[in-house]
């Protein structure tokens, strides 16, 4: 409790409040803007960590994370194209509401629902982070190694449409992580001394997220502008409130555990929440035509899972979403290693962050409800200038890592890789997780085997490790069984709508929305089946 109060003291200093405000505004802006997600925004902002203090930077990044989620829902509701795969449902149901003249209510229930879910999620973090940290701090290197292997499998298999592509991406990332110096020898440096320190994670993240995305969009730039639904002040009537509050709570209950366990990000709980609301609703006939419950529940699930992802990030140093991955990079750039020791070694940082999340949430609600019409204007930003700006800031960010033109060449190569990944449907998240966790995994393995003097059986000598390997085996079996029937699990959630980590896949996804567009209820009916397919 004292620590939490101290956290609020940290978060409520004028300077940090300003950073929280800045983060929330920036996050919402990039969330609304097409083409930029919170992960790319954080990657572009990493240079800020050179001068700003660690608590301010993390508070701002958390604000961007939450703000980005909020802004993303605005885009989905007003444009009918989900910026992230976790917004697919919002794009279906919210856009239907907007077309029926209820854009204001859709935005309002998304905003208040995000606030409710984010706040409950943060309070859960207050309770869970210390107790989980107490447990994980006792994990030995073998267990920790096992948990990292689990994280690799989780981001690769549960999220991806194709296991093959997920693993390709993961091992490309691990390959990039090999570059550098290992116990005094140059490894994978192609004889280039500038590579002796490895490829900076900032360059990788900016190259894959920003340059790759800009090149990909450039190759397929939509020449016809999208139809944007005009919006006024968000508000809700009494009956809207009555229909929304239960979905908010149920969505939170679904979303938080999915985020907290490294088990599949935000899209699965949003689908589950949608299915649950449809089943429980007194107005099932409205679903597919703009039911407010179908926006309230999934949006709450989305935000609760965002809060949940901070649990493995802060206690284990394991990121499970692209945005959390970049936050990890930011923390590491201060020489702080997130992991089981973090809460003991940096209590001020962790509690300052946990306190600031509540503040960021409140700011989002207070600032953004009145500003919704203004944010909607961002959707009209001219695309050439938008993507030229992304390239400009990406170059600047990568250059300031080492002030070497060589890094810009690497950046371009990685951008080409990012382009190819988008072309061939390779998910981005496993790659970036591989780059970041690869070195840690190698050192944990070395540590475990050094203690056991090379005896490999030490890797399954701890009960936690055994349990974790059993879970991995179970995941493998389940996905193989399901794979034999056609697809891995998350794709089965919406059978003709593929979901991928942080909006990586999408052809069929948009197709499913378009079918709804055609007035066919089919994909909605199918979307209500995830409970069966996930059981």
């Amino acid at each position: 409790m004292d620590l939490l109060l101290q956290g609020f003291e940290t978060a409520l200093t004028p300077e940090n409040l300003l950073f929280a405000l800045l983060g929330v505004l920036l996050g919402t802006a990039v969330g609304v803007m097409p083409g930029i997600g919170p992960a790319m925004a954080l990657a572009l902002l990493l240079p800020i960590t050179y001068t700003v203090g660690v608590d301010s930077a993390i508070i701002m990044f958390a604000g961007i994370y939450y703000g980005g989620m909020y802004g993303g829902s605005t885009t989905s509701i007003l444009l009918n194209t989900p910026g992230e795969s976790s917004s697919v449902i919002t794009a279906i149901e919210g856009n239907k509401m907007a077309k029926a003249g209820r854009a204001s209510q859709a935005l309002a229930t998304a905003a208040v629902g995000s606030f409710v879910a984010g706040t409950i999620g943060t309070v859960l973090l207050w309770v869970l982070v210390p107790s989980v940290a107490d447990v994980v701090v006792q994990l030995g290197a073998p267990s920790y190694f096992a948990v990292m292997v689990l994280a690799f499998f989780a981001v690769t298999m549960v999220l991806g449409t194709s296991r093959l592509r997920g693993f390709i991406s993961l091992f490309l990332g691990l390959g990039i992580a090999l570059v550098g110096t290992s116990t005094g020898q140059a490894r994978m440096t192609f004889g280039q001394p500038l590579l002796a320190d490895g490829i900076d994670v900032v360059v990788v993240a900016v190259g894959i997220f920003a340059i790759g995305e800009a090149l990909w969009v450039a190759a397929h730039l939509r020449r016809k502008p999208l139809e944007i639904i005009p919006v006024g002040q968000p508000w809700m009537s009494r009956s809207d409130w009555k229909r929304s509050w239960k979905p908010w709570l149920r969505g939170t209950a679904l979303g938080f555990p999915f985020g907290a366990l490294p088990a599949g990000g935000a899209e699965v709980p949003t689908f589950l929440s949608y299915a649950a609301e449809r089943r429980l609703s007194k107005h099932p006939e409205e679903f597919g035509k703009g039911a407010i419950e179908g926006v309230a529940g999934p949006e709450a699930a989305n935000n609760a899972s965002a809060a949940g992802t901070l649990l493995p990030l802060l206690t284990l140093g394991l990121p499970t979403t692209a945005t959390a991955t970049i936050m990890l990079v930011a923390i590491q750039s201060y020489g702080i290693q997130p992991g089981p020791q973090l809460l003991d070694s940096e209590p001020g940082l962790v509690w300052g962050l946990l306190a600031s999340l509540v503040i960021a949430n409140a700011l989002l609600l207070v600032i953004n409800l009145p500003m919704a019409p203004l944010w909607a204007k961002l959707l009209q930003i001219p695309r050439p200038q938008l993507y030229a700006g992304i390239l400009f800031f990406a170059t600047l960010g990568a250059y300031t890592v080492n002030f070497q033109a060589f890094d810009l060449a690497l950046l371009l190569l990685l951008g080409v890789l990012g382009f190819a990944m988008r072309r061939f449907g390779l998910p981005v998240l496993p790659l970036i997780v591989g780059v970041i966790l690869g070195p840690t995994m190698e050192s944990k393995l070395t540590e475990a085997l050094s203690i056991s003097q090379g005896d490999v059986s030490t890797l399954w000598s701890e009960p936690v490790a055994v349990v974790v390997y059993a879970v991995i085996a179970l995941m493998l079996v389940l996905s193989t069984v399901r794979g034999a029937g056609g697809r891995p699990s998350p794709a089965a959630v919406v059978p003709d709508g593929a979901t991928g980590p942080d909006g990586i896949h999408g052809t069929a996804r948009t197709a499913s929305i378009d079918r709804v567009e055609h007035g066919s209820d089919r994909s909605i009916d199918e979307a209500t089946e995830p409970e069966e397919s996930l059981r």
């Binding site: 083409g35 001068t51 691990l174 090149l215 190759a219 700006g389 170059t395 070395t446 896949h505 999408g506």
Partner: protein, 177 residues
């Protein structure tokens, strides 16, 4: 909406068999080659300490080997008709083919920047980068873009210099800025 019918058609084309995505063989070959190189690079590494349980080459062998296998697996899947789901987005219209010219121009702009940044300085190359990228993406308001580009590059130069205390290269404008 015309795009929606395009999409539906394309999706049905995705699921129909016997259409081989030849470009995907290129990706598979890339994976096999890089996997092979990673393994080869591993063979050039010696033991660090005799008692070190995980030698520097161990991970090279593991990662390179798996990359090789994944490349072969992708090749096989491609031959069986596996096709990629290209990434969609707000500003992306997948109904057309790849706009090679735009991507090539953007790559040229980026290469020009990295070649010139140390000589001309960020204030100049940054502005050219922004203007060039706008032009490549189809904007024809050159003067306005150049003005915005100069404002961005000079502004970021001074922001980094005075606020963040990090000097960006001034290049030929050294002493002027």
């Amino acid at each position: 909406m015309s795009t929606s019918t395009d999409l539906t058609e394309r999706v049905s084309a995705d699921t129909s068999p016997r259409i081989v995505d030849r470009a995907q063989y290129g990706l598979a070959a890339f994976l096999v080659l890089s996997g092979g190189y990673v393994v080869y690079d591993g063979t050039t590494l010696g033991d660090a300490f005799a008692d070190q349980p995980v030698q520097p080459w161990a991970l090279s062998y593991a990662v390179g080997g798996v990359l090789l296998l994944l490349g072969l697996g992708l090749g096989a899947a491609t031959a069986r008709g596996d096709r990629a789901e290209a990434e969609d987005g707000e500003d992306i219209d997948l109904s057309g083919s790849t706009d090679v010219r735009t991507v090539g121009l953007l790559a040229l702009v980026l290469i020009a920047n990295l070649a010139l940044i140390d000589r001309l300085g960020w204030a100049i190359t940054g502005a050219l980068l922004f203007t060039g990228a706008c032009g490549a993406l189809g904007s024809r308001t050159w003067l306005r873009n150049l003005a915005v580009g100069v404002a961005l590059s000079v502004g970021s130069f001074y922001l980094f210099y005075s606020v963040l205390g990090v000097p960006l290269p001034a290049g030929v404008l050294d002493g002027v800025l």
